[in-house]
Symmetry: C2
Subunit: 322 residues, 2 copies
């Protein structure tokens, strides 16, 4: 595949096309991911999440700048799982930001691929692998929002940074969505706000209650992303966490569990694809649903019948080799 | 099954147990749903959604009261897709509310079954069917939040009511999440707020832009749920919409499409179940993930191998009848 070759050689244009191909799950995308997999595993993946308005984007640009100055190559994925609209304006902001660094050392991309067969976190993982294979050694995944989807996306990262700010996005909301559990590092941004110390204390108390059994105690870093204050410290903590993970047994186990979940997701996705093909080629659900007598059987009976027909079709197309 | 019989006969206690059984997708739950399906289809399902703080719960209790006074039986499902914690406090509130109506004509339940195989909207559909079969002829589904998950849940309802209030939850957020498209009826609650008329105008403008091709124009009902003002009018509009749907060709088609999606969801869920069984009985993913050489193949190759093994196992257990 030509765009694959070119993307791996450094063509930004081809990389963009390749990512669209993967993001849209175009036919053959899993084969591409399979073929580039041996090239991956070199990047450090950093997840940034938190409620709206805490300054995540500004923080992400700061981090990117610090890494770029250290001669790292940086890929940024901004993921908005709740948005059905592809992140037009977001992407615009990011591109403007990337103009600060006109080199090919930075690549910025917005993802909003809900409705994909494997789910948004798998799509994010897939695209991150493309960036990894293309040689970006720092990948920053920024997710917008505080829901369950964001928590799942953040599991793709090696290090999850939860960004909060005094007075923004109540802690209860973050707690509810499981953000507190997922955090490897807390950032209290906008640290010039008057209630910052009180807010840091609140988080410390919550951490004391919850993290006793964890081997890694999430540090809390105060930043003012607007001026860059505290951002070097944040990068230091991210690096520390990354090193810690490499050696810690329980974290390695956690990573394996995530790999396991990924394999399950991929298996399910493959089967969903085969079902779609089955519906298109052999089995007209529309016919059933438009036939009163058929429809009156109800969804549970129909689903059973469909499944039986599907198994039979699979057996015909994939005969057992004895 | 004893609890099924008792629940259908009117035992609230058994109904609660039966719903837990269905909600937790305990083994055999699909068979129960299959068996009660012929008893369903009599209930009117009303979905209530909107941003936090607009007064959805108060409105739901008002509606319940109006229906109860008309000798309807009312089941209420409060669904919070973002919450990993089963809705303890929420449920408490609901139970307190239900004490206002000590009769067996009302049943209140909180659902937060994320992580189910079929997804939260299928779980909601399943539980609504149980209530339907148990004889509740009005089912109110209240969803908390404004994300994509809520929009999907609301598709379970015959009539979707989107509750807004001047100054609460910006319209843009609601628009983004597709709430505006899903609404059959708009409620502007807290109609005593000063900006209400302006707010109603804004919604009207958005509707004018978007609903030209719809056969049903969503009415906007102003309510003050706290005092009950406007709630009778809302019930009238709900009934009108319900009647309209029965006859309108395009809405019937839409309903069929939803049924089609449900069947697909159920098929996928069944297959996921079979994969889980396969992993438990025949195929140890843990072994692979703990073996360095195996793991290094990467998730895409492993998923392919797993799938091949799964097909073979299915063929052995479900031989083709010739």
């Amino acid at each position: 595949m030509k765009i694959l070759e070119e993307a791996l050689k450094g063509s930004i244009r081809s990389l963009g096309k390749l990512i669209s191909f993967i993001e849209n799950e175009s036919p053959g995308f899993l084969d591409i991911l399979k073929s580039i997999y041996p090239l991956t595993g070199k990047a450090k993946i950093i997840g940034i999440t938190g409620p709206p308005g805490v300054g995540k984007s500004t923080l992400v640009s700061r981090l990117a700048k610090i890494y770029l100055e250290k001669n790292d190559t940086v890929g940024i994925l901004a993921v908005d799982p709740s948005s059905p609209i592809s992140g037009g304006s977001l992407l615009g902001d990011r591109i403007r930001m990337s103009h600060l660094f006109p080199s090919s050392n930075i690549f910025v991309r917005s993802l909003s691929s809900r409705g994909t067969l494997g789910g948004i976190s798998q799509a994010t993982m897939n695209v991150a692998r493309v960036l990894d294979a293309a040689g970006y050694n720092i990948i920053i995944i920024e997710t917008v929002g505080v829901g369950q989807a964001e928590v799942e996306i953040i599991h793709v990262a090696d290090t999850a940074v939860v960004v909060l700010a005094a007075g923004f996005g109540d802690e209860i909301q973050a707690l509810k969505a499981g953000l507190m559990e997922v955090a490897d590092i807390f950032v209290v941004n906008k640290a010039d706000l008057p209630d910052t110390s009180k807010y840091v204390n609140t988080i410390e108390k919550i951490l004391l209650k919850s993290s006793s059994k964890k081997s890694w105690t999430p540090p809390i870093v105060k930043t003012i992303a607007l001026t860059g204050q505290g951002c070097d410290e944040l990068v230091k903590k991210i690096d520390e966490h990354y090193e810690f993970c490499k050696e810690n047994e329980s974290l390695i186990n956690e990573k394996r569990k995530r790999q396991l979940r990924e394999i399950k997701r991929l298996v399910e996705q493959k089967i969903k694809e085969e079902i779609e093909v089955f519906f298109e080629r052999e089995y007209s659900l529309e016919e059933i649903i438009n036939n009163d007598q058929q429809r009156n059987k109800g969804p549970y009976v129909i689903a059973e019948e469909v499944l039986n027909a599907f198994w039979k079709s699979q057996q015909r197309s994939k005969p057992l080799k004895s």
